[in-house]
Amino acid sequence: MADMKLKKEDFEVVGKDLKSSEEIIRKSLTYWQDAWMRLKANRVALFALIIIIIMLGMAVFAPMMTEYSYDQQMYDRISQTPNSENWFGTDELGRDLFARVWQGARTSLFVAFVATIINVSIGVIYGGISGYFGGKTDIVMMRIIEIIYSIPRLLWVILLLVVMKPGIKPIIIAIAITGWGGMARVVRGQVLQLKQMEFVLAAKTLGADTTRILLKHLIPNTMGPIIINLTFQVPTAVFTEAFLSYLGLGIPAPAASWGSLAQSGTKMILLYPHMLLFPAAMISIFMLAFNLLGDGLRDALDPRLRA
């Protein structure tokens, strides 16, 4: 063998060196730190988050940036295309579209966020009860969800609004009480899983309060899925509101919402496409940003779901 140049010293015994074999041990991170790291690395999701923050900021501040109010009619400036005075142009009644679009954002986003918070809450409670009691209660409660969702959610919303008559409050209620099925299923699954865990069984045998233990572990365990669900519910609610405006079940005039603006814009599409362009673009960009953020959050918070 060609190792003639080797010297005796080379064969001095040095023994094990376990440190070097394990030196590439990663710093351990908490779940949230880890999730945040992953989200930060996802440029698309981060960009979407920035867009959402800008849009929320505009909804709050934009109506103050313009001298026109959303319901002020200027009869000398009817149906104008975008210009230096009216940045988004005016509508067929001479109202400033910039003011109306951002006023509409306030309405649409208010409806979306409030409805989402309510339906996620219902979902958590419903799913929690179903999973906690299990057995027959669980079967019945889950069958109810199946039955409700065997016709599209929007049909229920429509029926509820036919009964309640349109308005902001009825729309919020209608969206809120029809959209909790998905959340309920997620929470139920988590509770069932938790109940099986050994520490719960151990606590039970020791006579500890199971409910408290469940709650204590349920909240951190379901936070991820809840946040993801919330993120996907918001654009759905925005879409639902816009859709209802199309059916004449939206928010009544003179209040503006993205949906009602888009709906009146469609009527004028052939003559003045800008009246549809701005509200439609807002709806689309907002939904796009939320969907992208939702995808990013799902990857960050629940790596198992990664497609």
Partner: protein, 363 residues
Amino acid sequence: MSENKNEKIDEVKNITESSDVLLDVKNLQVSFDTYGGEVKAVRGVSFTLDRGETLAVVGESGCGKSVTAQSIMQLIPMPPGKIKSGEVWLDGRDLLKYSDKEMEKVRGKEISMIFQDPMTSLNPTMKVGKQIMEALIKHQNMSKSQAKEKAVEMLKLVGLPNPERRVEQYAHEYSGGMRQRAMIAIALSCNPKLLIADEPTTALDVTIQAQIMELMADLQKKLDTAIILITHDLGVVADVAKKIAVMYAGVIIEYGTYRDIFYNPKHPYTWGLLLSVPRLDVNKDLRLIPIEGTPPDLISPPKGCPFASRCEHAMKICKEKMPEEIKVDSVESEDHFARCWLYNDLAPSVNNPVTERRARLNE
């Protein structure tokens, strides 16, 4: 093989005179591109296998044994995997020079493979019989009815009761052991020269494990198939393999006959493996000694011996230079190699803990 013979006539001339050799793998190197960098999974593996012989490749998970096996059939996903260099001679033809189209005629016909998890390696939506028939129709030009007859015959051969009914069933109607038998039936249907079994019993119950190993040994005799048995379980190897290759961090660190490896192992890693395996035949209060530490990260493998950091006999040179294969003494006067600096003339002599233990037990 007949048509390949004409195409590859030049290569056929290169066959080494001792044509007992079926498979000759030379300096195989395989890498995977990952986000973290290039993982050098197999770093220069060479071995030969005779016709009808069984070679066991042993090592812990991630040592490159499965990648080696799948590279022989070019089954590793490429990309991210790539075979960087090496030669795989089967009956005098270098398979690594084959195109994918040419490989199709080798896979299933000359070399077959069975995998670790019989639960997932059968297609759930295709009848088991049809899955056996596919290879027969492809390689043996059989008609559907002929193939079906043969499929029934194969299921009978692997010991499934009621084969006529079983061919019409789906995988979920089989138990785990039956599925692995069906996999063996698929693999052996075209009478291959070489069967690669990648951890064939790992996912099975202990009682079934023995049956499957017995079945493979039995069929090997009947059909004269060579077998490469990949496993992390030395217990499985004992009864079937004539030759054993011990792999660690992408290289074969010791190679020898079954008796060499079990009775006269030379590499400290092999010692570690043997001392950490529980054995039923020896005294119960014998202490098992685990191997401390973890294998190196193959994105940046150490330049010296990969086992050095876990080896109590490690010397300076071990960290500096990868040892060459050194021929060491064999129980059966056959080839027995180890990649270890301890067998250099300049190295201090070290007691062999495996032979020592044996001597102690015999007292």
